[in-house]
Symmetry: C2
DNA sequence: TTGCAAACACTATAACATAACATTCTACCC
DNA sequence: GGGTAGAATGTTATGTTATAGTGTTTGCAA
């Protein structure tokens, strides 16, 4: 799955089951590295997020989380989200108040997110160079940068094509 | 007030009263241009946001809004915020769920926000070149960009100095 | 002066997130 | 095994941010 990490990865056909399995393995390894437990709760939340290249709101996770035939409390989900985010396994999409499984394992920093306004698919791009440029720009004002948030809203290739087609129809 | 629009503007001493007045004038002009009314409600919200180079949450505005000795309903504030944002007079700082008066009049697009983690001061930088670079990057994946969100979290010059000093003390 | 559209007022509720505290689980030591 | 410290979970409650929906007022033009 060398495709993962490439900018257009989520836009292409791929064996999503493999994609999921790799991310789970990656998560297990990350937990080992940090002497943390990859508990059932955390695994279940990550699996829900891995189901599609779409961000889920915390309460969507609550709803989809089938847990002994009951509903988990929001706090339970938020705890798992905070844990997964601390390990760089997921990202928060601020413009949507939603959470996305990371598909650039090992490169948790320096991401740029392309959020489709129509289908909600999110692509995660490598943006390290961009961030360096931004850091330089802000440093020239004396600002010391710690974390970055870059989200682009627009249309993914498929939705863009669809809309072009619909416009051509009329 | 040619200082406005420069990256380090909010970090420097300036006549803030003039700064406010200019923005109000600018808002009046913008409303004229768009055949909209600069109502009391909208003006009051903008003035609260102009009071400092700090973003305010909608409910902070509700609290500070002295309105015939009553408290306005949140919806009233959100309406004004939506209106002001549609005219580019204010920006939403997504990482803080807060709103900031624009200090780059006439350049409502292409901003980069530097958010101080310590004092909450926000600087608004011209980032058109950066955005172009990001658009090019995303276009190479077939993504059609509409809007951008770039927020950098860190320390403003003053807070950075203060912390350096405190560290040197110990 | 009537009629229309914009803006406002108000109530309620949706949507997102965390605090606080009790309980259970797990790893480790004796 | 039994004790125990820390991590994780379970639970309740509440805090925070944002919008829906509906009726009223206002400004303005025909």
């Amino acid at each position: 799955m060398s495709d993962r990490g490439k900018p257009d990865f989520p836009y292409r056909q791929h064996d999503h089951q493999v994609c999921i399995e790799e991310c789970i393995e990656r998560a297990e390894a990350a937990c080992m590295d940090h002497n943390e437990h990859f508990t059932e709760n955390r695994r279940a939340v990550l699996e829900l997020l891995l189901a599609g290249h779409r961000p889920l709101g915390a309460y969507e996770i609550v709803e989809q989380f089938d847990w002994k035939n009951r509903r988990p409390a929001p706090a339970q989900i938020y705890r798992a989200l905070a844990f997964l985010e601390s390990l760089g396994l997921i990202h928060r999409i601020a413009s949507r108040n939603a959470y996305l499984a990371c598909n650039r394992p090992g490169h948790q920093k320096g991401a740029i997110f392309l959020v489709c306004e129509r289908c909600e698919l999110v692509a995660e791009l490598e943006g390290t160079q961009m961030l360096t440029a931004i850091d330089n720009l802000s440093a020239s004002s004396g600002f010391v940068a710690h974390t970055h948030l870059i989200e682009v809203s627009g249309l993914c290739p498929a939705c863009s094509d669809t809309l072009d087609f619909e416009r051509a129809e009329t």
